[in-house]
């Protein structure tokens, strides 16, 4: 049911008010009613009752319809106001209608009232709708304006000839202009870079009525180009009665540039994934691969990396390894840490691969972890080489430590760099010290002498010299060692020296024995030789004696008998005597010569008096020459054996002969003196002398030497040209 129509009646006559109500009831109008009789109650009712329609009498005691209408219209334009009056002039009626009343009804023609009320309500309703529509229109125009002006996209309206009718700031700014005003003098078509393209799309527009997402290139005010995307459509302006073109334009220059950069980045990324020898993978939150590099797919034995998508380490690796990596990845996902390590990748039926790997969390733009990714490098070759090296170095260490040779190295400050077990053991044994690296090497030497020698060795070694020495220790046991020093270089820089000591005690000792044996054999040989020499000398001596004796005893006797017979022949005949005088003299001379000769040759072989013999030798020299001689003899009688005496005599005789033959000297001094266990024989002259270095040993001197050597003596000759000669002989007895 429709709500009751609220009617406010302004009427001072109760009868008239009642009459109106009855009339309305009769017309079956569903209503409720409020009656006001003066201004005060009218205003109150208007505010509180909020009537839908007002019926007003013209004149009340202190109020009237015109005033009431004024009040109503001040507050609402929509409520119908109908004047219900007794009599009224045409002029008054016209005025009140003009003032905003909807109608007037004469009280004697009340039958028209319901119709009038309905008409008034209807009218007011229409009025209200009209007003609302207008308001809406204004609002929508404002909205459109805002949309137009505040749009980020450029919006423009142009004529078919290209005159710009309107555009927003976005459009103007897009092309480098400050505002629409600045653009209006420019033909829109000239803003397009390509005239042919522009013609093409205008023709297209005419055919289709609208174009969407058209790619155009526009000219910026600065001359550079702007790539845009535009939607264009026709719009009919009914007011101006012309067809206009409306367009919405987006600047996609930056977007294109970014897309291009993205493409390049993708290309580089693809190149990386395709060609990098290191393995790269990306895994999701469940540790499933979603992208792997080609190198990784090769390791997995896949023809295409795409085949790995959705798979996990469990599909490729041994279970143990896959469990380990899964745990790693869980840690990374939960804590965000980066894991870097070297690990052994094990795959069923495949050799172990070693990799150096870095695993990191994979995050999206919001920073949430969406998986993990990693990069790993195959280091199998390096690792195997390392293992081999370790094996080798272990072996080498065993080799070094099992040898009895001592090995140690020292740096330039003579600090121990390293040493082997033998060295450690020997030092411990000899000095009681437990060595550590960095100890001073010289603290391991234990005698003053050794310290000095080794200081010198290290000094030589630390200037790069390579050498070997033989070292001899006597403490705690006799010990011989062959010690070699080799410089240690790091590149070209001398770092220290490496020392190797090899025990040669055994060799040295056997060498010593051999040497002694050889020496002994040599000594025996020498002694033998000496005996032979002395035997020869003695034989010679005896032979000389025999010859001397022969000359003296036989030849002289024959000569003496010959002389006797000749003398006897001379006694008979003086002529013969004269004739044989000269041969007799020759025979005398011969006898005398032979006597002299035999006395020189003949020496007694026993009970020799050396002093007398030498004195006689020197006396004979003084008799036959002008040479003055001095003789000193100071030896206890019987101290010297006869054969030595004879030899000393022969030596002196030889040298005196030499002097007489070669030296042309005036004085000769001979001394024979015993001192300690030696006999000293000196023969000095003041003759011409000679150069001792020039090789002019005659048979005389070598005879002398043979004699001396056979008695284990030695001889020194001091001489120089012009300074005479001094021979000093020392013979033990």
């Amino acid at each position: 049911m429709k709500p009751a129509l609220k009617i406010l009646i302004l009427e001072d006559s109760i009868i008239d008010a009642d009459l109106i109500q009855r009339l309305l009831k009769k017309e079956k109008i569903h209503f409720e009613c409020s009656v006001a009789m003066d201004k005060e109650s009218f205003e109150k009712a208007f505010d509180e009752f909020s009537p839908d329609v007002i019926l007003s009498d013209n004149s009340l005691p202190q109020f009237n319809a015109a005033e009431a209408l004024k009040i109503v219209r001040q507050r609402s334009l929509e409520i119908p106001f109908i004047l219900v009056t007794g009599t009224v002039s045409e002029e008054f009626a016209a005025n009140i209608i003009k003032s905003g009343a909807d109608d007037y009804i004469l009280k004697d023609r009340m039958a028209r009232l319901p119709t009038a009320i309905n008409a008034a309500i209807q009218y007011r309703h229409v009025q209200k709708e009209k007003q609302e529509a207008q308001e809406e229109l204004v609002q929508s125009a404002a909205k459109y304006r805002a949309l137009f002006e505040r749009n980020l996209a450029g919006v423009y309206q142009i004529t078919m000839e290209g005159h710009i009718l309107n555009c927003n700031d976005a459009f103007a700014n897009m092309l480098g202009y400050a505002s629409c005003e600045e653009l209006k003098s420019i033909n829109a078509f000239s803003l397009y870079f390509s005239a042919s393209e522009r013609k093409e799309f205008i023709a297209d527009l005419e055919n289709k009525g609208k174009i969407t997402n058209h790619d155009s290139v526009m000219k910026h005010k600065t001359g550079s180009l702007v790539n845009v995307l535009e939607n264009i459509s026709f719009l009919t302006d009914t007011v101006a009665r012309q067809v206009i073109v409306e367009g919405v334009m987006l600047d996609i220059t930056e977007r294109m540039r970014v897309e291009e950069e993205l493409r390049q980045e993708q290309y580089l990324m693809q190149t990386l994934m395709k060609n990098l020898p290191d393995h790269i993978y990306f895994k999701d939150k469940e540790s499933r691969f979603f992208r792997i590099s080609n190198s990784q797919s090769q390791v997995f034995g896949l023809t295409d990396p795409i085949e790995a998508v959705g798979k996990t380490d469990f599909d490729f690796f041994s279970k143990d390894y896959a469990i380990r990596t899964f745990k790693d990845e869980e840690t990374i996902r939960l804590t965000g840490v980066t894991i870097s390590k070297e690990e052994a990748e094990t795959r069923p039926g495949m050799p172990v691969r070693y990799v150096s790997t870095t695993k990191m969390p994979l995050k999206n733009e919001a920073g949430d972890t969406i998986g993990t990714f990693g990069i790993s490098r195959d280091i199998t070759e390096r690792k195997n080489a390392e293992l081999q090296k370790e094996f080798d170095s272990n072996n080498l260490e065993a080799l070094i430590n099992n040898t009895n040779d001592l090995m140690w190295s020292v740096d330039k400050d003579l600090k121990l760099i390293t040493f082997n077990d033998s060295f450690r053991r020997i030092i411990k044994l000899t000095s009681g010290r437990s060595l550590v690296k960095g100890d001073d090497i010289l603290s391991t030497q234990f005698t003053e002498d050794q310290l000095k020698r080794y200081q010198e060795f290290y000094q030589r070694a630390l200037i790069g010299e390579v050498f070997t020495i033989i070292d001899h220790f006597e403490h705690p046991v006799e010990f011989w060692a062959e010690v070699s020093f080799y410089p240690i270089y790091n590149g070209d820089v001398l770092m220290g020296t490496a020392c190797f000591s090899h025990d040669i005690t055994a060799r040295k000792k056997s060498e010593g024995t051999l040497k002694n044996m050889a020496q002994e054999m040599l000594n025996q040989q020498v002694q033998e030789q000496k005996k032979i020499t002395r035997a020869i000398i003695n034989a010679e001596e005896r032979e000389r004696n025999r010859i001397g004796q022969e000359l003296h005893d036989n030849i002289n006797q024959i000569l003496a008998v010959t002389k006797l017979y000749l003398s006897m022949a001379g006694k008979e005949d003086s002529k013969v005597k004269e004739l044989i005088a000269y041969p007799l003299k020759l025979i005398d001379n011969s006898i005398s010569e032979i006597r002299l000769l035999s006395s020189k040759q003949v020496t007694p072989l026993q009970d020799i008096n050396l002093k007398e013999m030498v004195q006689a030798l020197l006396d004979r020299l003084s008799e036959s020459t002008t040479i003055k001689t001095t003789f000193v003899y100071n030896v206890t009688n019987g101290a010297i054996a006869d054969d030595l005496k004879l030899n000393i005599y022969r030596i002196i005789q030889e040298q005196v002969n030499n002097i007489v033959k070669h030296a042309a000297s005036k004085n000769i001094t001979v001394s024979v003196q015993a001192s300690g266990r030696n006999i000293h024989i000196n023969v000095t002259d003041d003759g011409k002398g000679f150069n001792t270095t020039s090789k002019r040993k005659g048979i005389g001197i070598s005879n002398m030497l043979n004699r001396i050597k056979s008695f284990d003596g030695d001889m020194a000759i001091e001489s120089s040209p012009g300074n005479g000669c001094a021979i000093q002989i020392k013979i033990p007895y």
Binding site: L225, N227, Q264, Y267, L268, T271
Partner: protein, 146 residues
């Protein structure tokens, strides 16, 4: 054919010329196969697989090279000269020049360039040059596009 193969290496420093050329190429349906470098040094790096492109496989080479003559660092002429002494010497080269009267065009032909296009490059201009070269089938492996 793999999706990451580069069909056209495009060397151009001017962003405007690059925009027009890339647009012209896109209209030929080649948008995903252009690789744009911004100077001669980058072009040489790409060709020689050095610098940023040290991981690029030398076995993959573009089917066409578009070379701007005036570029910073290394000029197009120099790039062309080095290119023709590289494994990529068989790749056709189209020179981009701002003037028909450019004396360098002659030099480019001497160095082995296949053609030239006068800038600004509009699609028709580009199409014409490509047609003249008969390079359609070289560039477009998939004839169904035409």
């Amino acid at each position: 054919m793999q999706h990451d193969d580069i069909e056209i290496l495009f060397a151009e420093d001017s962003p405007d010329d690059a925009l027009l050329t890339i647009r012209a190429l896109q209209k030929s349906g080649l948008s995903n196969k252009i690789y744009h470098v911004k100077d001669g040094a980058q072009a040489l790096d790409f060709i020689n697989c050095t610098g940023d492109y040290s991981l690029r496989s030398p076995a993959e080479y573009p089917k066409l090279i578009l070379l701007d003559l005036k570029m910073p660092k290394v000029s197009g002429l120099e790039v062309l000269e080095k290119l023709k002494n590289s494994p990529l010497k068989c790749v056709p080269v189209v020179i981009l020049t701002s003037s028909k009267e450019d004396p360098d065009i002659k030099k480019c032909y001497e160095l082995g360039a296949n053609s030239y296009i006068v800038k600004p490059v509009e699609s028709e201009n580009f199409f014409q040059a490509i047609k003249e070269l008969g390079l359609y089938w070289i560039i477009l492996n998939q004839p169904s596009h035409f």
